[in-house]
């Protein structure tokens, strides 16, 4: 059923070939499917993409410069704004990096709470992916279903830390507040509620022939290319590498939990989608285990307000929903970091877009862009 885009009708003998002309289309900065302010400069031959050049920087806030001007505690607030769809993970990455730098021991309960929050946020983030991906492909209804479930997660967050988007929940050395009384039971309820909902999305999308036609074999990213482009997270796993920092370089309390790393086979759009769907189930599993084994005790190590880590450098990375999120911090021993380099997953993943989209249709570009799950503030920082 697939028509090869390179099929060309040969002119009749003696006839002359119709002249065609390539043209340039600006997709964005304001476009329904660029998920923020990203501009893609497309060179097209009819419907076929000849060249894709992403143009970023519309949301550049120079967070790295801001970091040099804030204390370690204060910068926690800014990490929320790097990746606003999974702030908990961004917080977590900062905490892990700073704690590694200063050698702070985090109480076990705090580690468990962090894992629960990070995984809840991972589910929420993947739900946002599912919502925007389905809407990119023209199926509007799963959008609302995914946001319905996300709403419950966000309620759990608000119950705990008071905010619905920029949580600012974690603190260097622990978490800001203990969870409220009914958090554990509510979260358990949510986990058991989530599994059938994920099945529901799969019923609408996964095997739908139209969906398959739009995603199977589209935007293939083979593994060597993915590694060379530093692609990480679900796109990397979709390309077939069984790699997850939570498992391979465990941080926080991830080494005690039992979960699988879903991988894809072909590295196409469908695989990336499927990996994320599967990750939602695995995250729910982790949360259930963490709630089961949630220890009592302190939630925060003693960290002074004028926290001065020792002079030194640190490179720490975690597995955020979009992939590897890393902080490279240089400390000069004062209350403010000397230099912070933030390595975000979207930045590297977006770079691989032109390779994946080459010689495909404009509709495929939308699908691939959606499947990379880019968050533009994370790209521009």
């Amino acid at each position: 059923m697939v028509v090869n885009s390179s099929d060309r009708v040969e002119p009749a003998p003696g006839g002359r070939e119709l002249e065609t002309q390539e043209f340039v289309v600006n997709m964005g900065p304001q476009h329904p499917s660029t998920h923020g302010v990203c501009r893609l400069i497309l060179t097209m031959d009819g419907e076929v993409l000849k060249k894709v050049v992403p143009d970023i920087g519309f949301l550049h806030r120079s967070i790295e410069k801001i970091a040099e001007n804030r204390t370690y505690h204060q910068f926690m607030v800014y990490t929320d704004r790097i990746d606003y769809v999974s702030s908990m993970n961004a917080n977590h990455a900062w905490c892990v990096a700073v704690e590694k730098l200063a050698g702070i021991e985090v109480p076990e309960r705090a580690e468990y709470l962090r894992v629960i929050m990070a995984e809840l946020n991972r589910i929420a983030s993947h739900l946002v992916f599912l919502a925007s991906f389905s809407i990119d492909l023209g199926a509007v209804t799963p959008f609302l279903y995914a946001f319905r479930e996300r709403e419950r997660i966000v309620d759990l967050f608000e119950m705990t830390c008071g905010q619905r988007l920029t949580y600012n929940y974690m603190r260097i050395g622990g978490v800001s507040r203990d969870v409220p009384k009914d958090f554990v039971s509510e979260t358990k309820k949510f986990c058991s509620y989530l599994y059938p909902r994920v099945d529901e999305y799969e019923a609408i999308l996964t095997e739908n022939p139209i969906f398959l036609g739009r995603t199977k074999g589209i935007g293939i990213l083979d593994l060597p290319t993915a590694i060379n482009y530093s692609v990480s997270g679900p796109p990397l796993r979709g390309s077939g590498l069984k790699w997850d920092i939570r498992k391979d370089e465990p941080y926080s309390a991830y080494d005690v939990f039992d979960f699988d790393i879903p991988t894809g086979e072909n590295g196409d759009t469908w695989d990336r989608y499927k990996v994320r769907i599967e990750e939602m189930r695995q995250s729910a599993r982790i949360i259930e285990q963490a709630l089961e084994g949630l220890p009592e005790g302190e939630i925060k190590a003693k960290v002074p307000a004028r926290f001065r880590p020792p002079k030194g450098e640190v490179f720490a990375r975690i597995e955020a929903p979009r992939g590897e999120m890393a902080y490279f911090i240089v400390s000069d021993g004062s209350t403010k970091p000397y230099r912070v380099k933030i390595r975000t997953a979207s930045f590297c993943n977006l770079q691989a877009l032109p390779v994946m989209a080459k010689d495909l249709k404009i509709a495929d570009l939308v699908a691939i862009f959606g499947s990379l799950d880019i968050i533009l503030p994370e790209v521009d920082r």
Binding site: N69, I227, W243, E313, F315, A316, R317, F328, R343, F347
Partner: protein
């Protein structure tokens, strides 16, 4: 390879071309001269024991006190599962270093970002356009420590370290 093995291996391979730095929380760190970078990267990528196939992160760093500016390369190997931290230090006037995007394509954007924010020139870069800043930006290199822009306000120190 463990960090110690990697350190000794690198020292053995490159001898005086590398200068060992204090480890970055467990990750071996080395200082490299700009002119040796290409050779070292070639070996790092191709050596069957090193096989650094992934550039995890690349960023600039600026030390106005010592008049040095540098590029930090955070390398990782999926094949061997080990990390390496390399850095190239240059004088702050006209810093120039070879682009590593021929070894790791991911370096392309990282280098573009570093080039415009730190003013480090990357030789033989395949696409040397500005990435994040506007095209007509002419206010210097904002990520340098001593940069002063017309809209840049250092935040007041409220009751701190007076």
């Amino acid at each position: 390879m463990t960090a110690e093995e990697l350190t000794s291996k690198i020292k053995a391979t490159f001898a005086e071309k590398v200068e060992e730095l204090p480890a970055v929380t467990g990750i071996p760190a080395f200082r490299v001269k700009a002119e040796h970078l290409e050779e070292i990267c070639t070996t790092l990528v191709s050596d069957p024991e090193l096989k650094f196939d992934n550039l995890s992160c690349l960023g600039g760093i600026d030390y106005p006190e010592t008049n040095e500016i540098g590029v930090v390369y955070c390398l990782f190997s999926f094949a061997k599962r080990h990390h390496l931290n390399l850095r190239v230090m240059m004088p702050r006037e006209n810093p120039e270093v070879i682009s590593v995007s021929e070894f790791w394509v991911a370096a392309n954007w990282f280098e573009r970002e570093t080039a415009e924010l730190f003013g480090i020139k990357f030789k033989d870069h395949p696409d040397p356009r500005p990435l994040l800043l506007i095209e007509e930006w002419d206010e210097g290199y904002p990520m340098r420590r001593d940069w002063e822009g017309k809209d840049f306000i250092r935040m007041p120190e409220v009751g701190q370290e007076k």
